[in-house]
Amino acid sequence: MGRLAIYVTSGPYSLQNSDTAYQLAKAALARGHEVIGIYEQVDGVFNLNKNITPLEETDRNIAKQLEELAKLGVKIMGCPVCANYRGVQSEDLLVEGAAFEGLGAVADLVLECDKFVSLGY
């Protein structure tokens, strides 16, 4: 079985990237692959904000989706520098199971994974 890592640089509800990251991680886990981590850089840090509230109840909650993946053992990480630049630096705003890690964590993912999926602009 493979080891998948996902890297996202866009925010929620703008592009399909956040949804792709979630769906791909779920599909990989369902097939017995390991998802070793999802790293959110640049506007990706907004995906980790636990205050995300969709207008429609039927719409997906991207923050909750990441929380769900964290509970399934996927390491969810965000760039602390990008968060500072965007004023979302508080650990209190992070979804449960997520943490800020420096960019060395992305290098670790690259070194440990079989497939690295980069979702950006």
């Binding site: 850089q41 520098v81 960019l103 060395g104 992305v106 690259v110 070194l111 690295f116 980069s118 950006g120």
Partner: protein, 118 residues
């Protein structure tokens, strides 16, 4: 040794792609990953000398570009992209780069473990 290419495709200042790409590039090189920064399409504008973005309130992207080779990142510029934009070798910053064609670009990609696009 794990080999990673960064394909930098966007012009500086209009988006944060180059700056964030550089940050990740240097983080990878510091972790002893064999790291190439390959500038193609409008990305080659990053290597243009004489950048002065003071008027738009931004620091020059070229400063981070110039540090890449000091951080053990190998720099490549696609000749076709330079030619299309009327940029000649004399217009470029420093000499720590290699000019490559599309065949060489394909080789770099095929010989690497991962290629990330910015």
């Amino acid at each position: 040794m794990t080999k990673v290419n960064f394909l930098l495709r966007k012009a500086p200042y209009g988006s944060v792609n180059d700056v964030e790409g550089f940050r990740l590039c240097t983080a990878f090189a510091a972790m002893e990953i064999d790291t190439n920064a390959i500038f193609i399409d409008d990305g080659v504008f990053v290597a243009l000398s004489g950048q002065d973005p003071k008027a738009i309130g931004l620091p020059p992207v070229s400063a981070a570009y110039e540090r890449l080779t000091d951080m053990n990142v190998k720099v490549f510029l696609l000749e076709e992209s330079l030619k299309e934009r009327g940029i000649s070798r004399e217009d470029l910053i420093g000499e720590d780069f290699s000019l490559i064609g599309k065949t060489e670009l394909a080789r770099l990609i095929s010989e690497s473990d991962f290629t990330l696009s910015f």
